[in-house]
């Protein structure tokens, strides 16, 4: 139940995977940058943050860890107002039910988010709020996220 490019063909000879091209899409990173550059209020980005929290919650509830969550690994299908998100680049993903792995997944996104997009703390807060509300297993994950954050700061 997660939107990701369809796999069309797997070539074991050349070790290549042929995937669907999401035509006309932009990365969430480019979208946030363009909104900030045009001087728009980042509060207009809150619905996007909430949608991201929702998608990640569904992904983690299926015990799928992305492994490389950044705003350039999430695409927006046109038209962008629809907030139709597509997750890409599962090269580092794996299956795990551990709150630790999910917490780290979110931590990686938080670091990538805040370093690529200054002044987006409220965005990420909204993302986590929706994540916690959508995911059936969020309690231990958020707890681990807090612990991982503390570890990172040492």
């Amino acid at each position: 139940g997660i939107s990701a490019p369809a796999v069309y063909f797997v070539d074991y000879v050349t070790n290549s995977i042929y995937l669907e091209d999401i035509v006309g899409s932009i990365t969430v990173q480019d979208h946030i940058n363009s909104v900030q550059q045009s001087g728009d209020d980042t509060s207009s980005l809150l619905p996007l943050a909430e949608k991201m929290g929702e998608v990640l919650a569904r992904m983690h509830d299926e015990d799928l860890i992305h492994g490389d969550l950044t705003t350039s690994n999430i695409l927006l299908r046109p038209p962008t107002e629809k907030l139709d998100l597509v997750l890409i680049d599962f090269g580092l993903s794996f299956i795990s039910g551990l709150p630790e792995d999910k917490g780290v997944d979110l931590y990686v996104l938080e670091k990538a988010f805040l370093s690529a997009h200054p002044d987006t703390e409220t965005m990420f807060k909204a993302l986590l709020k929706t994540y916690a509300a959508t995911s059936k297993k969020s309690g231990p994950v958020i707890k681990r996220l807090d612990e991982v954050r503390l570890r990172g700061r040492k």
């Binding site: 139940g1 997660i2 939107s3 369809a6 796999v7 069309y8 063909f9 797997v10 070539d11 000879v13 042929y18 669907e20």
Partner: protein, 175 residues
């Protein structure tokens, strides 16, 4: 009428789809297909949602033929096998091949620089009416397709039925 599409990964190679309705000799055609005397894959159109599904199967079959790793004995059998979401060859034929009582048949032909196809050869053997491939959606049994490919309601909310099917076809040997 018929639909021809090149296979981008195999220059010079193309796939042609012919759709027939009101077919009266399905049993004879099936026999010919089993004997190998018909140069084409005879497919049950009820299980096909879009020509792209055929292209993905044909692409995989051509690829495997070229590297000598087909699971079946002929390219056309391999196309039918590639349509299946599982690795059971006889099951694939039962579900995707035609049966004696069928009144509609989708014929798939593959041509390349060495092998040219003769449409007359094929159409003359079918006792039925050739119609435009655009009529394919009218023949699709969506419920049966969803059941066979085990498409969940969650998936349907996110993507198209065609995407779900194609993913299963292309990754069945990975899982």
């Amino acid at each position: 009428m018929e639909l021809t599409h090149p296979l981008e990964l195999f220059p010079g190679c193309s796939v042609t789809l012919l759709l027939f309705r009101r077919v009266r000799n399905a049993a004879a055609l099936r026999k010919k297909a089993m004997e190998g005397s018909i140069e084409g894959a005879l497919i049950n159109p009820a299980m096909i949602v879009d020509p792209f599904q055929i292209l993905v199967a044909a692409n995989k079959a051509v690829h495997l033929e070229k590297i000598g790793k087909m699971k079946t004995r002929t390219l056309y059998a391999e196309i039918i096998f590639s349509l299946s979401p599982n690795n059971n060859i006889s099951d694939a034929f039962k579900k995707f091949g035609i049966s004696d009582s069928d009144t509609a048949v989708l014929i798939v032909l593959v041509a390349d620089r060495e092998k040219k196809i003769n449409l007359e050869d094929i159409t003359s053997q079918v006792e039925g009416q050739q119609v435009s491939v655009d009529e394919l959606p009218q023949l699709t049994d969506i419920a049966k397709v969803k059941k066979l490919y085990k498409v969940t309601p969650q998936e349907e909310k996110i993507g198209t039925l065609l995407d779900s099917i194609v993913c299963r076809m292309s990754t069945k040997d990975v899982l």
